[in-house]
């Protein structure tokens, strides 16, 4: 499984980052934080906003095919966008 621009496999997902962000805003909202905690929450939140924005800015749709290798382990291989987009020529996707 090789992706050129993808995040590291164990990097937090967009979903988990957004959830954390909502959580941070929620705790900021509760007003129960000390000033220090508020500032930390805010800074962590802003870092997440930045990273989430980077994810969204990724313009290229990435498509991959998932199969099992000879040992039965999941294996992905990228599918080129151009091939996929070539609808007229072939009735089948080039998986």
């Amino acid at each position: 499984m090789k992706r050129k621009e993808g995040p590291a496999p164990d990097a937090p997902t967009f979903e988990s980052m957004m959830e954390r962000l909502e959580q941070l805003v929620g705790t900021l909202e509760s007003g129960n934080l000390s000033l220090e905690e508020s500032i930390h929450s805010f800074e962590e939140g802003m870092a997440l906003v930045k990273r989430c924005t980077e994810v969204l800015d990724q313009a290229e749709q990435r498509i991959q095919k998932l199969t099992r290798d000879a040992q039965g382990a999941p294996r992905t291989e990228p599918v080129a966008e151009d091939d996929e987009a070539d609808e007229g020529r072939s009735g089948e996707l080039p998986f």
């Binding site: 900021l28 805010f42 906003v49 930045k50 095919k65 999941p74």
Partner: protein, 495 residues
């Protein structure tokens, strides 16, 4: 075709030929010996005349004996359900039809509703209904075939899985709201995958789509789909999983009614959107999925938020976070402002006022004392002057007057000094009170930073130099520290 072999003969002694057609319309011929002694007319040459009842009864016995239990397949037509529970209908194929009577006393298959058009297999005996003289199949069992059979399997499996709670609403998970990793189990030929990829490319080009190909119709389709669902789960790198295919006949969609697929969907750790066929097709996979999409296109729309939606949400959260923090800081500032106008700060004024009052008293007392002193002096001086007038020069009086003035000035100076002193004291007391009251604020996370001597508050970090000593005042302790590094704040740069 078991049964006694009879050799019917007509009165001319010819063997009768019975012709019948099987369901494909081929003619079956059989020569039969109808020779039943009881029915043989003793009068030679005379044709035997049956009563209607006789012949019908004979045929009944004959057919019953010849076809004690047969199974006939055909499509139901002219269906009539009688209030008594008996059901009457015909089964037909392209060439012929046969009347069927299905008495209420016969067991029914659960969930099977007989109706016109349903293909069935009817097992029973062929009889002649004597009152009408018509041949009919007296059914003991009627079971659907083909589509009907699928329908029954569907109903049976649905009941079974429902009883296990697999379709329960409580089982349904919410879809992730910010999915960017979309997995799809479907065939990679056909329109469904194209539609989904197109929609996802338009809406969420940032999303990463992973297709686990599966056979979605024909032999082994259910197992293939189930295996692909398990594969995606084994792999696990997805927020949401779409399982489906495009439209087709009920038989085409059948894999999605199989137990293997339902169980794989139920076992999926990744929330599943089902997207099988069209809006009107509801499969067991749809019932088991967390969310049922009417079509694959619809599934793609539900799988991931559009980039614009996600951007908007992100922006909202950022704005919200900043507002909250600002409000938080403003609240703390108001807290401080509160203290500023609080007793601690009002105290000095009061003290000054009090001091001023004391001072005024003092001044009055002094003034009175001075006045008395001056008066006394004056009277003394007066008497002295009268006494001395003869021998003392006027300058002595003059000197005395000057001393008096001097004394007055000193008294006034003294009172001014007193005022300043009191004012200073009041200030010190106010500062003490203030610092005491600040502790509440310090407890919230503020610390005061003093310079090395503890004389001046450091309120601009930029002016600090590495190596410089500072004193940090917490609500519960003071610490002496030295600056190791100074990084100018980047607060303004955050979005």
């Amino acid at each position: 075709m078991a049964g006694q072999r009879l050799a019917p003969k007509d009165p001319d002694g010819h063997t009768q030929t019975l012709a019948a057609k099987d369901r494909d319309g081929r003619t079956m011929s059989a020569r039969r010996n109808w020779g039943a002694a009881a029915r043989f007319d003793p009068r030679e040459g005379e044709p035997h005349v049956y009563t209607v009842g006789e012949i019908v009864a004979e045929l009944n016995a004959l057919l019953g004996g010849e076809y004690p239990s047969i199974t006939v397949e055909g499509e139901i037509t002219d269906f009539r359900a009688h209030p008594s529970g008996h059901e009457y209908f015909c089964i037909k194929d392209r060439r012929a039809q046969l009347q069927v009577v299905f008495f209420a006393s016969q067991p029914r298959i659960r969930g099977v509703q007989l109706k016109n058009g349903l293909a069935v297999r009817v097992t029973g005996t062929i009889t002649v209904y004597e009152a009408r003289g018509s041949m009919q199949l007296k059914a003991e069992r009627v079971s659907p075939v083909g589509f009907g059979a699928l329908q029954i399997r569907f109903e049976e499996l649905k009941r079974k899985l429902q009883a296990e709670g697999l379709f329960a609403v409580e089982r349904k998970r919410e879809l992730p709201r910010y999915a960017t990793r979309v997995a799809i189990v479907t065939s990679f030929s056909g329109a469904a995958i194209r539609d989904m990829l197109r929609i996802l490319r338009q809406r969420a080009p940032h999303a990463r789509i992973t297709v686990a190909p599966a056979r979605v119709q024909g032999d082994g389709a259910a197992l293939s789909v189930a295996a692909a669902i398990r594969l995606v789960n084994d792999w696990g790198d997805a927020d949401v999983l779409i399982v489906g295919r495009g439209g087709g006949s009920l038989e085409d969609l059948w894999a999605f009614n199989e137990e293997a697929v339902v169980r794989a969907i139920v076992a999926s750790r990744i929330p599943v959107i089902s997207a099988v066929g069209h809006e009107s097709d509801i499969t067991l996979a749809d019932l088991a999925a967390d969310v049922r999409a009417a079509t694959p296109t619809h599934a793609a729309q539900q799988a991931a938020p559009s980039r614009e939606e996600a951007r908007h949400k992100l922006h909202q959260l950022a704005v919200h976070a900043r507002e909250r923090l600002l409000r938080e800081m403003q609240r703390d500032r108001r807290h401080l402002d509160g203290y500023r106008t609080h007793r601690a700060f009002r105290e000095p004024h009061r003290q000054v006022a009090e001091g001023r009052q004391t001072l005024d008293n003092t001044r009055d007392v002094l003034a009175r004392a001075l006045e008395g002193w001056a008066l006394r002096r004056r009277s003394t001086v007066g008497s002295a002057s009268t006494r001395l007038r003869a021998h003392a020069p006027a300058r002595v009086v003059e000197r005395m007057r000057e001393r008096l003035l001097e004394l007055r000035r000193r008294a006034e100076r003294a009172s001014i000094t007193d005022l300043a002193k009191r004012r200073k004291e009041a200030g010190a007391r106010a500062r003490l009170l203030t610092s005491y009251d600040y502790r509440g604020v310090l407890r919230r996370g503020y610390a005061l930073v003093w310079n090395e001597e503890g004389a001046r508050l450091v309120n601009r970090g930029r002016n600090l130099r590495p190596g410089e000593g500072i004193r940090v005042q917490f609500h519960d302790a003071r610490a002496e520290a030295s600056v190791t590094r100074v990084d100018p704040s980047t607060e303004e740069e955050t979005p």
